[in-house]
Symmetry: C2
Subunit: 207 residues, 2 copies
DNA sequence: CTTCGTAGCTGACAAATGTCATTCCGGCGA
DNA sequence: TCGCCGGAATGACATTTGTCAGCTACGAAG
């Protein structure tokens, strides 16, 4: 993909200026890496990729307007040559799966050392893939999510405290059916109500 | 507090290795600043302060075992000479108030530029105070929190989906009273249930 | 073809929740 | 001193929610 000797051209997107600047500065000091620019939102990142055509785009997962995965999917369309490195705060197996589906080349948590970043970027730029070790093992072992598809849908919709009627509308199900799914999910997760169930499932990375 | 010419001795605590390392590296490059060490949890930070006796301790708000404010309060006790700079992700006026009560000398968000950090540290080390501009104005203008003390207590307890009985026990109130407070809070915030009310209040920085 | 499992739905019931009117009590200003 | 207000509580009530049993439809396995 990138010939040896040619510097890797990188952009960096994160909504926290402190982290963005700090990492950018350190990456820029690195031999063989050129930082073309930074972005604070998903939309900005996509726009920057469109203009600058970097080899690698490092995207934070949690960003305003568009999260890292949505931005990654869009980047695949408009700049197939750009590899995406997804940066995330919490390592959640379900997110890893969505990220890989979106065509992300590397999955890195913020518990990674800055010193490892350059080699990850180089590896990705030359066509490699990288998945954070802890997340990878978690993804393998924690595939035993006890929830069914619909239970996950319903729980996800109830994360923001929506009422059952609203959840029913959003999932195109009957209210009674929603209550049944919530009920089974609650017993599976040992929760006292749907809010707690949603929290548990979220923490486990299942929704 | 610190004589001119003497380097400022700093420690840095944040649970994200990436940010911790990156900021530490950049601070260490700065003239007149010595980084004595870093910590990943509140407890580690307190322990590090006890041993190293830094001039300034930069603490992230969100950390395991002890959040930055709890750690700051403890540091005031064991090392009164150490000034605390609180670093936070989201600028929330209520948190600012709690932080100032805990004796924090500076309140900085992660939307701050790394370049501003050294001057903030210097100012704090010489006895000054600093509050992030956006947060300060927000704290002044957003003093119009419509909730009363008890409503805030009750909403805070219901953030994790606790049942009314549990909230009543935790707040030492009668269940009916809890429901009344929740009800008034919900109407004030225009929410359909206590979960939404808690979310709204949280986003506004009121709890 | 029958059986089984699963998705989806319904209805009934009990418990939890939200709403409202009302009461009691300790300040606090007029 | 009186009256008003905010905190706390109670009781009654309607609504929402969680539980449970049972129904239909449909595809896969037997």
């Amino acid at each position: 993909m990138t010939e040896p000797g040619t510097p890797i051209r990188v952009i960096l997107a994160d909504d926290e200026l402190l982290l963005r600047e700090a990492v950018m500065t350190l990456l820029a000091l690195e031999d063989g890496i050129t930082v073309l620019g930074t972005a604070a939102t998903g939309a900005e990142a996509v726009e920057l990729v469109r203009k600058a055509r970097p080899d690698v785009a490092v995207l934070d997962l949690e960003m305003p307007t568009q999260d890292g995965i949505e931005a990654a999917a869009e980047i695949q369309l408009i700049a197939p040559g750009t590899r995406v490195v997804l940066l995330t705060r919490h390592a959640r197996p379900a997110v890893l799966r969505r990220a890989l589906d979106a065509g992300v080349s590397a999955f890195v948590t913020k518990a990674t050392s800055v010193k490892e970043l350059p080699s990850i970027l180089r590896s990705v730029a030359s066509g490699g893939r990288y998945v954070d070790g802890a997340v990878a093992t978690a993804a393998l072992s924690e595939s035993n999510c006890p929830l069914t598809e619909r239970e996950i849908d319903v729980l996800r919709e109830s994360l923001d405290g929506a009422t059952i009627r609203v959840i029913a509308e959003r999932t195109h199900l009957a209210p009674g059916t929603v209550r049944n799914y919530i009920s089974t999910a609650m017993t599976k997760l040992g929760a006292a109500n749907r809010v707690q169930a949603a929290r548990v499932a979220w923490n486990e990375g299942w929704i």
